[in-house]
Symmetry: C2
Subunit: 247 residues, 2 copies
DNA sequence: AAGTGGTCTAGACCACTCT
DNA sequence: GAGTGGTCTAGACCACTTG
């Protein structure tokens, strides 16, 4: 008598190593929602027998996914699909002198349902004229305004945020995106530059028009690689600092 | 009859895995100069038998050194100690609109042998008052000044640079450091900030006093982890740009 | 105690580079 | 063809977490 085991096929490698093909197959299952963010994958031994490869090969595949930031492994507990980026990640570019353990606060200044301008539509991978949510947001530290943000979100997936009061929104957006819209931000690309602030940008920050400012433009992507946010953040250039290590 | 093989001992692990201890032992031999930058290490199979470990374990150790940036492996050729940082690494923070294939040029504005000020001595790990080389350097792109730099170098290892004409110096410093002083810069930490330029800083750059400037402060380290350079670079803030990806 | 990931072994075979 | 690193296997044993 033969026992029946679940067997999962994966595309054999077109020039790819077996563990790379395995990693791609596992990634596809994660993106498809088979294992939601925060949940555990089956044990590596199980996955190995399922895919009919040696344990070491499956380990290589999982290590690859760890390096790619898709999953994280915890000794003795298991392999988990990573939750998205935590939030407050914009503050890492700034050094505001306030109580160090200070919680950042947020205030939504405006919220509009608008047709996407061409530049925004291109960034978000939408057709020009598709509906988006435009937000203006002020971030405060110890009740002092420090960052002014303009966000563009595709309405098809962020529709829940178009309704209800914005006064009750969380101070951190990404956890709220996950909870209310099922959108997990897994990757963000920040482009940093400097520009003089206009009056409209400077006043909410308590600065004067013409003050030097930092401009961070961010594109944020979900698990599947779709751009789900286009954001421009402005702050006082004198508060900017960032450290890079090169090897 | 027994054949005699070279056997290299390494400290058994005080809480370290065997491959981590192996990596540390190999790193020590590289730092000691047994395999100079650019040269090849023995084959992994040889190293494995020398250290009396399985091939896979030695591979883990070498992979660790690759991840740390100490060596690089080339399929079919061997394992090589990495040369230092190439140079021109400061330009990656700026976007000067000129011919894209433009070679950056350098001009040494001043060179002094001076006693290290306290702040510099601390950064370089010297006693206050030890002798250092202070350089001012202007970097040009298409004959346009773009960056102004102030460098502090410990004289004990950079003595060869205190003699002779600075007019003949290379445009890239790090390869010259390696060739003339045997100093290989393997790691650099850049701290980016913002400040308004003084007249003395702005004039050489063709800007006006009070112009917004980017300030990059760099500590550069050699193979052994010694800080061998402390540098401050200033440039037009409007030319600054940098991209960071977070996951 | 049971289940998880982490380390280590000893081998076979493949892919690439140089001469 | 000889020598290098890269992949894959099949197992043993260890270390950590949880019930």
């Amino acid at each position: 008598m033969t026992t029946s085991h679940k067997v999962v096929a994966f595309d054999s490698a077109p020039g790819l190593s077996r563990y790379a093909a395995l990693a791609a197959a596992l990634r596809a299952r994660v993106v498809a929602g088979e294992w939601p963010p925060g949940s555990a994958l089956p044990a590596e031994s199980l996955l190995a027998t399922e895919h009919q490869v040696a344990l070491g090969t499956m380990r290589r595949a999982l290590e690859l996914l760890v390096a790619q930031g898709l999953v994280e492994r915890i000794h003795g507990r298991g392999t988990f699909v990573r939750q998205g980026i935590a939030g407050a990640s914009m503050l890492r570019f700034f050094r505001f002198d306030s109580g160090s353990g200070e919680m950042p606060r947020s205030r939504i200044l405006s919220r509009q349902r608008v047709a996407a301008p061409a530049a925004v539509a291109r960034r978000l991978g939408l057709a020009t004229g598709e509906m988006v949510l435009r937000l203006q947001r002020l971030r405060l530290l110890a009740d002092q305004p420090c960052l002014l943000e303009e966000l563009w979100l595709p309405l098809d997936v962020f529709a829940p945020l178009a309704e209800g009061s914005t006064a009750e929104w969380d101070d951190l957006l990404y956890p709220m995106f996950a909870r209310r819209c099922g959108v997990h931000v897994h990757r963000a690309v920040d482009d940093i530059g400097f520009a003089v602030l206009t009056a409209a940008q400077a006043i909410p920050l308590g600065l004067a028009a013409g003050h030097p400012g930092v401009v961070v433009q961010r594109a944020a992507y979900d698990l599947g690689g779709r751009c789900v946010e286009w954001r421009t953040t402005r702050g006082d250039a004198h508060a900017f600092h960032y450290t890079v290590t090169i090897t």
